[in-house]
Symmetry: C2
Subunit: 212 residues, 2 copies
DNA sequence: ACCTGAACACCGTTCAAGT
DNA sequence: ACCTGAACACCGTTCAAGT
């Protein structure tokens, strides 16, 4: 026990199983602060006080690390969408809540969002886990729309088509917001409100039960 | 003149002013074929039979090359949008034509589209030329919507808000399409048709002159 | 003007070696 | 098991030198 205390006891114990967690968190922090391009295997190691090859004990390569970030992002998004839907009675209000939850997720976790949709993880080389989480997140929306169709709140169009449309709209708004294309104070909120209102007008059926 | 004919006469004459053009075209081709990540200053030079530093005679750095690709993309997009609008009588039909033109542009030029919206050119370091072309392309849409509002075809909402909404929708659809998220045969066309139809329902006013 | 090769400071990744 | 440093094959970019 005469070994010098190279790592003071306060240090996170990467040697006890959470290096993977630390690598993921550090990657997210770096993406958030400086963009995906700034993420470097060597720099992550340096920041964690670890060798630059330590990462390969937990991920096959750099792409696998980014894929894991994306996977966690989809899981978090699914959770947010599901609790928005379920927390508001699974009806018209739930639809609206899901829309806001989606955009809020993108704004709260722009780093995750960037990796999820920035095309850094090629569709072809995508692992099953990522594909599964992405499908699950989308599935939340599909199921919500199906429920709204069942009780007559949503139009009778093909559910998949409608779901993709809704996804395209919220994704488009989120991209504009995350990319900083809505610079005015409160602009993002106003835009999100407007978008969801217009989306409801296009997708939901009048409360009085009118059909179209 | 005993010099060996190192460059057979059929070769494009990069020495006469079109190396810049050739660099841009080669970059686009590489992005198209292998993605932005595969674009390498050295590889572009090799493919054009030119030194790996020849590029720096025409662009400040690699980022400037990608920025130029994005700038040309926005110029082409603006042209397509403007001619769609003007070629269809600048009315309701023009709005629809612009929507299709937008998605078609993304599908025809996925390489340009990727660079334009992939976040490779940071907003802060963006040059005036790129910003100008992007604004001009968006301006085409704003002006079209303003015209539709003037003749009572479009809702009276804030024009900027409406324009951003329309942009978000077509951008969302284009992203889904370019990312290959609509795999079924004819799926992209069906999706585009549906999206534009629902967009019109949300943004335009009934032909009978109803207000809302 | 335009192009070149050598050189520099970086990358991601592999691997034999340590504990 | 987990971590390490040295090494390899790449990057983007600079620069003195050539035509």
């Amino acid at each position: 026990m005469s070994q010098p205390a190279r790592t003071p006891r306060k240090r996170r114990s990467y040697h006890h199983g959470d290096l993977r967690r630390a690598l993921l968190d550090e990657a997210v922090a770096m993406i958030h602060a400086e963009g995906v391009e700034a993420v470097t295997v060597r720099e992550i190691g340096a920041r964690l006080g670890v060798s630059r090859t330590a990462l390969y004990r937990h991920f096959a390569d750099k792409r696998a690390l980014l894929e894991a970030v994306a996977t966690e992002g989809f899981a978090a998004l699914r959770e947010r969408l599901a609790s928005a839907w379920e927390g508001t009675g699974r009806g018209r209000a739930g639809f609206e809540a899901m829309g806001f939850a989606y955009v809020r997720f993108a704004l709260d976790s722009p780093a995750h969002y960037r990796v999820m949709f920035g095309g850094f993880v090629d569709r072809k080389t995508r692992g099953a886990e990522l594909a599964g989480e992405a499908t699950a997140a989308f599935g939340t929306l599909v199921e919500a729309l199906a429920a709204l169709q069942r009780d007559g709140s949503a139009r009778g169009d093909a559910t998949l088509l409608m779901a993709r449309y809704v996804w395209a709209v919220v994704h488009g708004v989120a991209m504009l917001a995350v990319a900083g294309q809505i610079p005015e104070a409160g602009g993002v909120e106003a835009m999100t409100r407007y978008a969801i209102e217009r989306l409801q007008a296009a997708i939901l059926v009048d409360a009085e039960g009118a059909r179209s």
